[in-house]
């Protein structure tokens, strides 16, 4: 199974080819190379998974060491790839969905002057993500982790001429860096405890070496990294802004793959998490809270991509809920189905925007099911999947999570999950109804602007075929569930299997969650199709609540008032030359403190040699005092 190295190998080759020879390849050649690289990676991923299936379940774990990367004294890190069912599933998702999105991008980005740069970044992303999931030790995991962050940042600010895009990229990079900081510390702590970073060695000796306190510290730090990368409370703020990037990027990185890295990482290190019950609880609670919280925000967003972004945050919350209650296979299962239906919906949204000359406000759409039949049908498949309507994929995976939560005794979290399922069905239905049903509300101007056609048009085949494939997967992917859980079984063998519920209870749970989804859809239907209830009236009636939700709970504003403004004022006292304006986000605030501290301290550098000598003397006194007066 050595040829697993080709999975990262092909995309890397793609990057090199596109970057170095793209100029000569032309658009067609570039597209071919980039898509081909990822397609081949997918083929290899299929091959290694097949090979893995040939071996008996207990021995499905292959470590391929490429070379010794770093070695000091008795400590050694190899660049090694670990292929086991978990990473096999992940590379299949990454390269498979990645391939479809590559193909879609060929159509979507056809007119863009940055075509070649785009595909170089995209290939680099696939490479980095594959490295992340195939890593055989924490250091390589960290490398992949940082690299995907870098790619995400490059791609969010891909259209850097737009100020918002550049800012959003910076915000994403910096926010996730706060998480990465925790992640790095966690790795350091692991290293300090185990004196190795190899998965097998760490996990093998964890139960003997770790005390509960230490395990809690390590896992909470690791989880901080996951919170940043997977946009959970409180570090979720970057993901909605990340929608400034091209839509296929949002589909690939900010829905299907990179943001799930946190879930993957927690799953991968579940041995450690299980030694720290508190951390498990934290993961589950944060997951459930984020799921609910982001879902409520999504109900009142009008931007087609922002709805999907908050929905992604919410669905990631579900996955964390799953791993938090020990249902790792369920978490990965939902990760997989989510990759299908969320990528599908993002690409569908992209197709819609493509048709409407970049319009993103769902209030200005409507009736598109006639003009864009394929897009609408596929989008509907995604809608039913995420809403949890059987037999669409989301139903199976979400139900699995809820059942696990219930079985683990976390009834409250289960309840939150069910309510969230209802809200999810509501806001997704609202979006579908506003976009594809009812009367067209887009202005003639928009439509005409779109390549001089009076009617919005269906997207070219290169964009619709990936949509169709994803739609099939989103619809039928749920049936993969048992296979997947069976396949993943050995990885989590050590953990206790979920106590199975009596069939009757199981059925009751299913009925409850489907009922919640149905209710959500029904309310949306009432409000947006039948117009029996006027959403505006409801909004007015709800008053404060609506405004809270509509304004994303004023988090940005609260951050601004609590952190940024005071800091800002303090900063302006520190340095008079604070001339930048319009800074938002807690992170930028931190940055601005440092910037103004820098500006302040910079003044110490007066240019007078005598002041330098004086500071030197102060240093001498410091040194002498500490070294003698002990």
């Amino acid at each position: 199974m050595d040829f697993v190295r080709l999975v990262p190998g092909f995309p890397l080759l793609g990057v090199v080819l596109v970057a170095l020879t793209g100029r000569f390849l032309g658009r067609r050649g570039t597209a071919l190379v980039a898509c081909g690289a990822v397609g081949l990676a997918f083929a290899v991923a299929l091959g290694v998974t097949g090979a893995l299936l040939q071996t008996p379940p207990e021995s499905r774990e292959v470590e391929v060491s490429l070379f010794t990367w770093a070695a000091v004294s008795d400590f050694q890190v190899d660049v090694s790839l670990l292929l086991d069912p978990l990473s096999a599933v992940m590379i299949l998702v990454v390269s498979g969905v990645g391939f479809l999105i590559h193909v879609y991008s060929v159509g979507y980005m056809a007119q863009d002057p940055g075509f070649r740069r785009y595909f170089a970044y995209l290939n680099l992303f696939v490479f980095s993500m594959v490295i992340l999931v195939l890593a055989g030790n924490f250091l390589l995991l960290y490398v992949g982790w940082e690299l995907v962050g870098l790619c995400s940042y490059l791609l969010i600010s891909f259209w850097y001429e737009r100020k918002e895009a550049a800012k959003a990229g910076m915000k994403a990079f910096v926010t996730t860096r706060i998480g990465d900081f925790g992640f790095a510390l966690g790795i350091f702590l692991i290293f300090a405890t185990f004196h190795t970073l190899d998965y097998a060695e760490v996990f093998g000796s964890a139960s003997q070496v770790l005390t509960t306190g230490l395990a809690t510290a390590i896992t909470l730090l690791l989880f901080l990294g996951a919170v940043g990368k997977s946009a959970q409370i409180p570090l979720y703020v970057w993901l909605p802004d990340a929608m400034e990037g091209p839509t296929p990027v949002s589909a690939l990185i900010h829905a299907a793959t990179m943001v799930t890295a946190g879930v993957y990482m927690v799953t991968r290190t579940h041995v450690l998490f299980e030694l720290a019950p508190i951390s498990m609880l934290v993961v589950a609670v944060i997951g459930a809270a984020t799921a609910f919280y982001a879902a409520t925000i999504a109900t009142a967003q009008d931007d087609i991509k922002r709805v999907l972004a908050y929905s992604t945050i919410s669905q990631l919350g579900y996955m964390f809920l799953a791993v938090g209650v020990g249902a790792y296979a369920a978490g990965i299962f939902h990760l997989t189905t989510h990759a299908f239906f969320k990528a599908l919906m993002f690409l569908g949204a992209g197709s819609v925007m493509h048709a409407l000359a970049g319009e993103q406000d769902i209030q200005k759409m409507g009736g598109l099911r006639w003009t864009m039949p394929l897009t609408s049908i596929t989008f509907l498949a995604g809608w039913l999947a995420i809403s949890g309507i059987p037999p669409f994929s989301g139903f199976f995976s979400k139900d699995e999570i809820l059942a696990s939560a219930f079985a683990s005794g976390q009834i409250l979290l289960w309840l939150v999950g069910v309510i969230t399922a209802g809200i999810t069905a509501f806001y997704m239905s609202r979006q579908v109804f506003l976009v594809f049903f009812g009367e067209p509300r887009y202005s003639q101007h928009t439509a005409i602007h779109a390549e001089h056609r009076s009617v919005p048009h269906e997207s070219p085949w290169i964009m619709t075929i990936p949509l169709a494939i994803l739609a099939v997967l989103a619809a039928l992917g749920g049936f993969l569930g048992p296979v997947l859980e069976d396949f993943l079984g050995p990885v989590f063998a050590a953990s206790e299997a979920r106590q199975s519920l009596p069939p009757l209870n199981e059925a009751a749970l299913i009925i409850l969650s489907v009922a919640a989804a149905g209710l959500g859809i029904f309310i949306a239907w009432l409000g947006y199709i039948r117009r029996g209830v006027d959403p505006k009236l409801v909004a007015a009636r709800l008053g404060l609540v609506y405004r809270l939700v509509r304004n994303k709970y004023y988090v940005d504003e609260v951050y601004h008032a609590l952190l940024i403004r005071p800091v800002w004022q303090a900063a302006s006292v520190l340095a008079t030359a604070v001339d930048q304006a319009g800074i938002d986000g807690v992170v930028n605030a931190l940055g601005s403190i440092m910037q103004s501290a820098g500006r302040g301290l910079r003044r110490v550098q007066t240019g007078f040699v005598r002041s330098y000598a004086l500071i030197f003397l102060v240093g001498v006194l410091l040194v002498l005092a500490i070294s003698t007066l002990r």
Binding site: F67, V72, F188
Partner: protein
């Protein structure tokens, strides 16, 4: 009389000294228009000296009654110094021609400065440390002011000189006190005297060591002894600034390693508090002030200060891992930092240099390869994987954790998070900002291109396949700490 064996063992230093002299003589014979021959001639000398270093690998020679030691540690450091010198000469060749200061003395002084650094790296006696430091410093005072009629260069030279001589005074006073306490200036002798004389708590020794540390701190630019750095880097010719940022720092750390390992190892425990404080001040001070810089050379000056702080962590850890990571860091730092300076040198229109950060706007589309190289150096300086800078930081921080300075490592990681801001700002400006006017012009020169290319290769190579260099670094420390 020195024995033949001694002469062979010290042959790299001899070759370099002779080469510097030969450059002076050649300078007389060569017409002004063909002075660049001297650059290649000097490079040949560096190669020969480097070859001599390689052939001496694995030996451990104590020469001149203990005044000089040629062992793997000094050879490793010498190679770093020679490499940095080579890169800086490649950068300098076109630069000094365009800025009308192409005199043979430039090469002579550069070679002598490197020789000074090599003497520090192999010193077995505080006297040799002092003399090596002075050879290095005097050459650098002159090189910083090599653009003789340029007020900024003169100012840089004067400031560096006055503060450098001031610091030398402290260094010398420190040596005097150490001598007073132990009765010798030989490093090995000091160690013996400390053990036999029971001098562990001797106030005179502590005072002396403190002052000695101050002198070296000045050279490697630790806060608060760093004040000269930004001004001198900005005023000095760019290749000289790059040279200084690596060679002076590496030589300073080399001397510090020598002195601490050979003479004061027993006192090491007493210094952790002080060194930790200095490391903290240095990292934070450098990074925070760098955030507010708008001149590329000053930015790199503050960045180099911050890097000295990181390197100090490895010295504090004082185990074989920590010290080998110091060596590795110096090598990695040499490549990435000189690379960044080489890009600055390349961004030049004849005499006009583009030094403002804003001049880098639009570089990404106008000069894609140059911008890509700069991006690699910046990412490496920021410590983003899989570059040399990442691995170097990982080693150093890991060593700190292993030696029980987890809190220091945490602060260092926090610092490198902070540092990412200003390194990335350069990348953002290059790729994501439209230039206000004309995009900066680029000077094409094969030598310069070679320098940048080598630096890129080094930065990437040490990031991906560092094993060989790490092994060398470890082998360098074997005699001191065992494996």
């Amino acid at each position: 009389m020195p024995t033949t064996q001694e002469l062979i063992a010290i042959s790299p230093e001899i070759i370099l000294a002779l080469w510097a002299l030969s450059v002076m003589f050649l300078d007389l014979l060569i017409a002004q228009s063909r002075k660049s021959i001297l650059a290649y001639w000097s490079l040949l000398g560096l190669l020969l000296a480097g070859g001599a270093e390689f052939s001496l690998w694995g030996r451990e020679e104590i020469l001149f009654q203990g005044a000089f030691v040629q062992d793997n540690l000094s050879l490793f450091l010498d190679l770093v110094l020679l490499l940095a010198t080579g890169l800086s000469l490649l950068m300098a060749k076109g630069y000094i021609k365009d800025l009308e200061m192409e005199h043979g003395e430039y090469y002579t002084l550069t070679l002598f400065a490197t020789l000074g650094g090599m003497l520090m790296a192999g010193a077995g006696d505080l006297l040799i440390v002092f003399l090596g430091l002075e050879v290095l410093s005097l050459s650098l005072y002159v090189l910083s002011g090599f653009r003789r009629t340029e007020p900024m260069a003169q100012e840089a030279s004067l400031k560096y000189f006055l503060l450098g001589a001031f610091a030398s005074g402290f260094l010398l006073y420190g040596i005097a006190l150490v001598f007073g306490s132990t009765g010798t200036t030989l490093l090995g002798g000091i160690a013996v005297a400390i053990t036999e004389g029971g001098l562990l708590g001797d106030p005179l020794l502590l005072l002396g060591l403190g002052l000695l540390g101050v002198g070296l701190s000045f050279k490697v630019a630790l806060v608060p002894f760093h004040m000269w750095t930004p001004d001198v880097y900005e005023g000095a010719p760019t290749p000289v600034a790059g040279y200084m940022s690596v060679v002076a720092k590496a030589a300073g750390f080399a001397a510090a390693l020598r002195i601490f390992l050979s003479a004061f190892l027993q006192l090491a425990g007493d210094w952790t508090l002080l060194l930790s404080l200095l490391a903290l001040l240095t990292m934070s001070g450098g990074n925070i002030i760098a955030l507010a810089q708008s001149n590329m050379k000053r930015l790199l000056a503050y960045s180099s200060i911050a890097h000295a702080g990181y390197i100090l962590l490895g010295v504090i850890a004082l185990n074989s891992w920590g010290l080998s990571s110091v060596l590795f860091y110096l090598a990695a730092y040499g490549f990435m930092n000189l690379g960044a300076f080489a890009v600055i040198v390349a961004l030049r229109d004849g005499e006009r240099e583009y030094l403002a950060l804003n001049d880098y706007a639009g570089l990404g589309s106008r000069h894609p390869l140059l911008a890509l190289s700069m991006a690699i150096f910046m990412l490496s300086l920021a410590g983003v994987p899989p570059t040399a800078g990442f691995l170097a930081k990982f080693y150093i921080f890991g060593a700190a954790v292993q030696a029980g300075y987890g809190w220091l490592a945490i602060l260092a990681v926090l610092n490198s998070v902070l540092a990412a801001f200003y390194y990335l700002r350069v990348i953002v400006i290059m790729y994501m900002r439209e230039p206000a006017g004309q995009v900066a012009k680029m000077t094409h020169s094969p030598a310069l291109a070679l320098a940048i290319f080598l630096a890129v290769i080094g930065t990437v190579q040490l990031g991906l396949f560092p094993a060989a260099v790490v092994e060398l670094a470890q082998a360098s420390l074997f005699p001191f700490l065992g494996s």
